[in-house]
Amino acid sequence: MLPAGCSRRLVAELRGALDACAERQLQLEQSLRVSRRLLRAWEPAGTLAPEPPPGPETKEEDPSPACTPSSQDLKELELLTQALEKAVWVRKGISKAGGRHKAPSLKSGFFATSPGTTASTPPWAPGQTGSHASEAKLSRGIHQTTVPAKGHPEHRLPSAEHRARVGVEARAARPGPGLRDQDVAPLAAPQAPEAFTLKEKGSLLQLPAAFRKAASQNSRLWAQLSSAQPRDSTDATATAKTQFLQKMQTASGRPGPVLSAVEVEAEVGRLQEACSLLRLRMREELSAGPTDWMQEYRGLLTLEGLQAIARQCLHRLQELRAALAEQPLGPCPVGRPSRASLPCGGGTGSSWSPQLLLYSSTQELQTLAALRLRVAMLDQQMHLEKVLMAELLPLVSSQELPSLALCRAVHSLLCEGGEHFLTILHDDPAD
């Protein structure tokens, strides 16, 4: 067991990271719900069935202690189970003669388990968007087995009540609730004549006049606000602000810190990034074989330039260190990250209304979003790595004879991001 203080701090950090991810996931899922709904056929007003309620992983953190599973964990386990079941199903389907229609095995698979247990609902990987095809197969499968007496399924629904039910069926993006009523006449997607799909008729939409008016007024106000900014910076207000800040500083009686803790941390972060970039560039330069003397000269210039920058960074670092030695700063409490001391409000100086970001293809958008997420996750990982190092390395080195399990776990966490493990063998002398 880890000591109490160490446990508390580690668990708190990890829980913080988990919470941040959960919140982001929640936002994403909300957006996904809205987007999916927009891309399906739009229901005529009045027959909107309520959305399936969001999963239990809302803001309330699990009140149970850290190591007992929460509802969020159960949900994740469910997803894992479903993914595994699908894998099994796919494998089974492949091992049987490939040409056979999948529906029978699907049906039998479905009815082998009672519909009450959510964990054994028909396996399909969560997060698949264009799953209308599998929905259709599923629904048809149910219909064929449960209501054979009704004959062929109807593809036109006369009554609004059926349409509403169908709406619910089509909306059951998550397995479970929609499949409870097996006697409902299910259909793949409503084929009602007035169905509106974005794909076919999206370009015919038009924003209402009231909205357009409000939107143009909105942009006018933003323009007005941003035009007021430059005046402020040259105005008497700027001098008034500086005077006020200076008065605050002198009234406190202290000479005042040149830099606050946040600024120092930000600057150190920048210097670290600089160091990384310089190192990368230097390696590139050294590994590139120059083909002619012109290139070699260019390489020389680059290396000299890099050296000069490195010298400046080092100098700056020494300055910071000297400044810190003179005045000890308080602890920095901001959680993560401390890059922005105040919430990042956006805008680059003059304009505060959101500017445009142009992308040219789905691929580009995906790359952009994936990179953003990757950088944020790496950030988190770096922070956790530092915390783990600070807590675990002293622990292992302070113990006379650390348990092998501990060593193995610490190595895995610190050196492999928790993904790989080393093997420890007793070195028995060969007989």
Binding site: A4, S7, V11, A12, E13, A17, L18, D19, A20, L28, S35, R36, A66, E76, K199, G202, S203, L205, Q224, A228, Q229, K241, L245, M248, P257, L259, V262, R281, R298, T302, G330, C332, P333, V334, G335, R336, P343, C344, G347, W352, L356, L357, T362, E364, L365, L368, A369, L371, V375, D379, Q380, M389, L401, L404, C407, L413, E416, T423, I424, H426
Partner: protein, 337 residues
């Protein structure tokens, strides 16, 4: 028109006449904004104004802009966090640190702290930019708050007692799983977004945008219920060639510096930008291209990965040293990818 101008430019009018309007505007626009009466009482250091100002400062200083992310933190906890946040930002006055955290007094000092924050950074504008109605599909181009952990600012259930290292491993594994889920969901969202943009081409009244955003489309569906520098060529003569080379290298190194010097030099783009799929014509005015942002992010990714590997290498060395002290064991490291 006259009144609006006065509100936008209150500082031009010296004197107390404009002050009540400014206070009223401030009170309306700040999140958890106290009433103008509270400001007045704080000026006279009335004790009853203190709790509201503590709450305001907490709300302004907590890193998450989220809607009431930490409503349940007690007064003392909030006050303590506000104190240390201000101290780490360099708040000069000691009097704040000496205030009692139960909110029983100190409203004047808190008012000073608020003024200090307002004087240092354009706080109201930033908050406004954060809280504005999002008509478009917005994506931040910086990662200032992408996966910000609430840290000490949120209420955490304390662990019951000491835990095993395996619990830490398990939590780490959960975190990795959540990262994977996030990536998958994010990819799906991009695909859907791209489709919606594509299908609604030509609808927007604003020609420079071209298509609708999810918020706007949703509103229609349910009205009831939003460079980089290049190199240079070479001249025929050696001196011109050399000069050109020198300039090229300088520009390259300047771009390198730009990559990490965020606050100096050209401002790095921050904050949310409205996503627009490129149509036939480029929109007027200022805009960012996704390719530029991707480049910046790629270099950041490379930096972070390198830094992480370095840290892991340090750990490996340290642990190898400690393992050396344990005789009679063979350590087989996992194969390098």
């Amino acid at each position: 028109m006259g009144r609006r101008r006065r509100l936008v430019d209150p500082a031009a009018k010296a004197g107390a006449g404009a002050l009540p309007e400014v206070i009223a505007a401030l009170s309306r626009s700040l999140p958890a904004g106290p009433s103008p009466e509270i400001f007045r009482r704080a000026k006279f250091d009335r004790p009853e104004a203190a709790p509201a100002l503590w709450r305001l400062l907490f709300r302004l200083l907590s890193p998450l802009s989220a809607d009431g992310a930490s409503p349940t933190l007690a007064q003392e906890a909030q006050a303590s966090l506000v104190k240390s946040a201000l101290r780490s930002q360099g708040y000069p006055r000691l009097a704040l640190a000496q205030l009692p955290e139960d909110g029983s007094r100190g409203s004047r000092e808190l008012l000073l702290a608020l003024s200090w924050l307002l004087a240092r950074a354009p706080l109201p504008e930033r908050l406004l930019a954060q809280a504005h109605v999002q008509l478009g599909d917005e994506m931040p181009v910086c990662e200032c708050e992408a996966l910000a952990s609430p840290g000490p600012w949120a209420l955490h259930v304390e662990a019951e007692g000491p835990v095993d290292i395996r619990c830490v491993q398990w939590l780490m594994g959960r975190l990795r799983f959540r990262w994977r889920c996030l990536t998958a969901s994010q990819q799906e969202q991009c695909t859907l977004l791209s489709k919606i943009h594509l299908y609604t081409r030509g609808c927007h009244s604003d020609r420079s945008l071209g298509h609708l955003s999810v918020a706007e489309t949703e509103m229609l569906r349910d009205p009831e219920g939003g460079q980089q520098v290049g190199g240079q060529g070479r001249g025929p003569q050696w001196s011109t060639a050399r000069q050109a080379l020198q300039e090229a290298v300088e520009q390259e190194l300047a771009a390198l510096r730009w990559a990490w010097e965020q606050d100096r030099g050209p401002a790095r783009p921050h904050g949310p930008h409205r996503l627009v799929r490129l149509g036939d014509e480029a929109p007027g005015g200022q805009y960012l291209r996704a390719a530029e942002v991707i480049q910046a992010l790629k270099s950041q990714e490379a930096c972070l990965e390198a830094a992480l590997r370095r840290l892991q290498g340090q750990c490996r060395q340290e642990l190898a040293r400690l393992a050396g002290a344990l005789p009679g064991l063979i350590w087989i490291l996992p194969p390098r990818r």
